[in-house]
Subunit: 257 residues, 4 copies
């Protein structure tokens, strides 16, 4: 099996962390159980370009439980967890991801996954999709999915120009993405990242949130919940009023700065 990871000896630690994440993913566990008896993906090859993390690892094993063959590369070189990559190779998934890899390696990894001739493409940022539309334009693909808002915006523009080669599901448009992933996931994890980097106490701090979309809404709510004084900047008047009605101050970026 072909693969490119940092260090195979990290597999054990990766397995433990994947297992821990699995214990917090009950819905995926229920799907896996159904997949094991129904095998809806039997014979389907999937190429994925996603964050190589414990959560993605559990998605990969669930797809395999449903009968699929998968290959995985990283959608963001900075989020790759090298121990998880090692564990995925250990269970037989061709994985191409090294934390901090440069742009050349990044594209080499995308091409390595596409070399497995996937029927379906799972994308998170539309990079793999772009390779299929700009370089590997002859390669046959049945369908794809895209996770991010930015990715979907690119794809909608391509659809409008009638250059989309195969149907792509905009995962990003689902209610669960907006209500849970964007709002709560990004809300908490943004704060978590600032906390880990700075060790500051949020209570009493002034926090400026640029934009009151779902991510900004979640972040503002969580910062408020930690005792911060939240200022929101917005250019959309409806969203601005929404922020004000949640108790935040709303001003232009210039005023906030």
């Amino acid at each position: 099996m072909d693969y490119d990871i940092l260090d195979s000896s990290l597999a054990e630690k990766g397995h433990l962390r994947i297992e821990w994440a699995a214990s917090r993913m009950p819905v995926l566990a229920a799907i896996r159980e159904r997949f094991e008896t129904e095998l809806p993906l039997a014979g389907v090859r999937i190429g994925a370009c996603m964050h190589v993390t414990t959560e993605t690892a559990n998605l990969m094993t669930t797809l395999i439980a449903g009968g699929a063959e998968v290959a995985l590369c990283a959608s963001n070189p900075l989020s790759t967890q090298d121990d998880v990559a090692a564990a995925l190779v250990d269970i037989g998934i061709p994985t191409y991801a090294v934390r901090g890899e440069d742009a050349e390696t990044f594209y080499a990894h995308i091409n390595a996954v596409l070399d497995t001739q996937p029927h379906l493409v799972f994308d998170d940022g539309a990079d793999m999709t772009m390779v299929l539309h700009k370089e590997r334009v002859e390669q046959e693909v049945v369908g794809g999915m895209e996770e991010t808002t930015t990715g979907v915006i690119r794809l909608k523009a391509m659809e409008a120009d009638d250059v989309l080669r195969y149907p792509i599901v905009a995962v990003n448009d689902s209610d669960t993405k907006h209500l849970f992933d964007n709002r709560h996931g990004t809300g908490q994890s943004s704060l978590d990242g600032i906390l880990r980097a700075s060790n500051i106490l949020f209570a009493g701090k002034r926090v400026v949130v640029a934009g009151f979309g779902d991510c900004g809404w979640g972040l503002a709510t969580r910062a408020q919940g930690l005792g911060a004084d939240v200022i929101v900047t917005e250019i959309d008047p409806i969203r601005g009023v929404a922020a004000a009605m949640e108790g935040h101050r709303v001003m232009s970026g210039a005023e906030a700065a």
Copy 2:
């Protein structure tokens, strides 16, 4: 029986409202039950100068259940509920309270209650206590209690001057007063009063709270909970920081205005 109220025919409505309030006062109900068997106040005369409301009415009947004789006048002419006053007279409590009564009547009512020669004085604002210290200085009283912060401040000054004639319990200093009555009771009912008077939507409004004592804390928390942008003014730096750490903006009264 002597009394002075607006209209005896309001008694029926008063009884209904007192009964409703009783259903929301389980702790007082438990005390009443104990009082009925233990009669700890048998033979004790109590003179009360308190808000003549449904809650006070239930306190009065509980004291009677404990064996006491009570007489009641209003501590605030604007809070008197005339139907409750009528109901209290109907169950045999000498009550002196007419909503909106003038200062002369107010003091006449205090004197009428003191004419019943109470052993104990229940006061809410220290007005009855002042009459006992300035005019009726010969009248014997066993002890008293005072409910308000302002009343307790007056009494502490008198104690420091050694002019307090009998021991007085500072109800105001109890944990239940601070944690529940001041914070939650005043917090909600201040907003409730503004709501009833103005019909405004709190979400998105700027609310200035003067002072971050227990009452101000409660009010600020509730206004925040209704979606307002809360500014707190404080002269005590510790309290000011406390407000900031709850997520409020803190400034001087001049800045806030």
Copy 3:
């Protein structure tokens, strides 16, 4: 001028309250100013079946400022403010609304408004629209608008059956309705109604909210903001998870009861 109200002498009080409400409606004031110079509704007759309240009164005078002729009846006999109705008649608007009017009067009032031959129909609950589709099927109408979710559901069903006689704007579908009116308006005013009727303290109370649509979301948020322990009942799993992620307990109606 024809009209039917309770008491013309209430007009003065109504004017004061309409003026107060106007001071809290800056967006409408801005529209009114533009209408006064642009007169976009010159020559347009409007028949409205709406809550006869201070807010609607300001909408009516704004429409007149834009050049329209308006006639108004009540969409809900229990929300009519008789002093506002009197003030509207006083400024020359044919108004048909008496608080607590019976069903017969209610429909007589709708017909009185329709007798003014409106080009446009403003509806809040689809009652006037129904009269135009069941009884006055020959009357010409250029277009309508509908404010409520229930009204829009009825109208969508009619559209699907191809029986809608003229185009109707679903005001209810606008972002401002969902984000502000439903969530914040209904959220606060539901609590306000319970407060006025019961005088209970919300802090520490258990509150059950049936359904986590925009109205339920707002109500749950506000009850939580007043210190209540909130339980949400939901049949839609996505909405149920949304409620859980806001910190509410989610259960079936049977469990909550």
Copy 4:
């Protein structure tokens, strides 16, 4: 100069982190400025047994700015930041702290600090104070201070038994400790610790907080602010009601388990 740390070469990293922390400690900076001109601690030797962290490092340099000589050991072997210890040695403070040190080393370090013959003892958990009361009972000390609730409880018991050898300031009893350190500091950092260890999303999770003192209050508030469903266990009825009025469910530990 005598000292015991892990690795002197970590000093540079320690300096950077101490400097960062200093930028978030404006009150201490103001004190330091005053100390530099007033030198209130000139000639005073201080022995400190505290968490060897960036914050303590800034306290130490501030004391030195005030004219003091200080020596420092760790109050908790697990909180020691080895790079900070190295930086402290680098600026000339006798520091005795190695992350994870065993009990024997822990007490050797306390004795090393006491060998500097401090006039004042700064303690965080009363371990240094205990050594001075059980083993080094002849050593002269002018006074001490104690930071923790548990430490103060031990000291109050000793005071009641009349065995306290010198006056000790209970820092723990100050308003700033209760209102800010316990409530906000511990509230946020407890959650932060759980986040870093588990990577779970708090929104929608059930969180049980044992005890509603200042720390528990802060933790419950922050967990609620992150979208958790909070249960509080309490044995003190007043505190239990306080928790209920903040919107938490209150139950016994057995029920919560």
